[in-house]
């Protein structure tokens, strides 16, 4: 039956054994260890992707968990036409965009760095460790990173998605086009305009940080 479901995997040779398609097939046979392997293979990428898209490392893990739960539930609908990585990135993209839209409807909760961590015990304010011997350069770099996050948060979702997938996740254009289900030309166009827009807004901060 595994052969019929995934005809390209007749007998798992060295290359096919432990491939994504083979693990999906095993997971469909209720082999939870196979799904665990898939999670371990992609959890770093998906958590990183969600963190860049949402600008929140804590929420990124929750979103990544939702991605894998959704993938687990829909595993039987994965037909193997596209790569598993394309499929899982597509689920992650849709969930991140949903979260970003919900955020826009909700007022943002701002955290003050001077506010005590625990108001009852009054332990003191938050501290960011300075691990470099060049405080001025660190501050400028931090300002630049802050500006990058700010500009990206204000970008339209489509442009932000291609920027994160290409320049932060390092995916090739063809893969991005399959994830977003759009032509490669569209991906390149969005990427070009997103980069130009980001660069234009970062220019005043770059000269100080370099």
């Amino acid at each position: 039956m595994l052969t019929m479901a995934y005809p390209e995997v007749c007998e798992p040779g060295e290359e096919e054994f432990n491939s994504d398609a083979w693990l999906v097939g095993r997971a469909l046979e209720n082999d939870i260890a196979a799904f665990e392997q898939l999670v371990e293979r992609y959890q770093g990428k998906i958590v990183g992707y969600a963190a860049r898209m949402l600008n929140d490392a804590e929420e990124a893990e929750d979103v990544a968990q939702e991605v894998f739960i959704k993938a687990y539930r829909s595993l039987s609908s994965f037909r193997g036409d596209s790569a598993f990585s394309t499929w899982i990135y597509r689920i992650a993209t849709n969930l991140c965009i949903d979260k970003m839209r919900k955020r826009k409807r909700r007022p943002q909760q701002a955290y003050s760095l001077d506010e005590p961590l625990d108001k009852d015990e009054d332990k003191g304010s938050r501290e960011i460790p300075d691990e470099s011997g060049e405080p001025n350069l660190n501050i400028e770099k931090e300002e630049l990173r802050q500006q990058v996050r700010l500009v990206m948060a204000e970008m339209p979702e489509k442009m932000r998605t291609v920027l994160v997938l290409c320049d932060m996740q390092g995916l090739p254009y063809e893969h991005i086009a399959k994830i977003l289900k759009c032509p490669i030309g569209t991906v390149k166009s969005r990427l070009f305009h997103a980069r130009a827009d980001l660069g234009r807004r970062l220019r005043p901060y770059m000269s100080g940080a370099q």
């Binding site: 479901a5 046979e29 990427l191 980001l198 660069g199």
Partner: protein, 182 residues
């Protein structure tokens, strides 16, 4: 001459152009200040994003899988029927490609055609008129003559109806020589 389109510019930024094309691109950018400015801005953005990704790596907590495992639903064991069903559904609905869409449309049209043939309205055969208008006229004249004959009292000089006449009681009987007058 190198065209300053988005594809070529991205290839230039990704260092995917050969030396000659690269030189052509730089020559073209020298002639277009706007595009040169966009290219510089794009390069700046790429550097900033790569720096952000490398200086702030995202790590995954060690209890990611245990937490996820608790949330995963229990999977019901797949019986032979569900496995066969998934295989056949994969054949019928393979993908979202154009061929798959065409196949689905063809299957739906074929099913609808068969249903309409099976359950469609039966053809009613309207029987063509067996009797033409002239035949109807002949029959009515014959009936009228018969009625006139029956209602008219017999006279001496009346002659018997010819044997072949449909109104004659001797119809289909051989004419007799006995002088019988009906």
């Amino acid at each position: 001459m190198m065209k300053l389109n988005e594809t070529n510019i991205l290839d230039y930024l990704d260092d995917r152009l050969c030396k000659k094309d690269c030189a052509d691109m730089e020559e073209a950018l020298e002639r277009s200040q706007n595009k040169a400015s966009d290219v510089d801005d794009a390069r700046l953005a790429m550097q900033a994003l790569h720096a952000l990704a490398s200086e702030e790596p995202v790590t995954v907590s060690e209890d990611f899988w245990p937490r996820l495992r608790e949330k995963l639903p229990e999977q019901t064991p797949r019986n032979a029927f569900s496995q066969v069903a998934s295989v056949f559904s994969g054949m019928l609905w393979p993908s979202s490609s154009k061929w798959a869409i065409s196949a689905r449309v063809a299957i739906v049209v074929a099913v609808l055609g068969m249903v309409s043939l099976w359950f469609g309205p039966q053809r009613t055969v309207t029987p063509s008129s067996a009797i033409t208008t002239s035949e109807k006229a002949f029959i009515s004249r014959s009936m009228q003559r018969h009625a006139d004959y029956v209602n008219t009292p017999p006279t001496v000089n009346s002659l018997p109806l010819p044997v072949g006449d449909a109104g004659s009681p001797d119809h289909n009987r051989e004419p007799a020589d006995d002088g019988y007058i009906p």
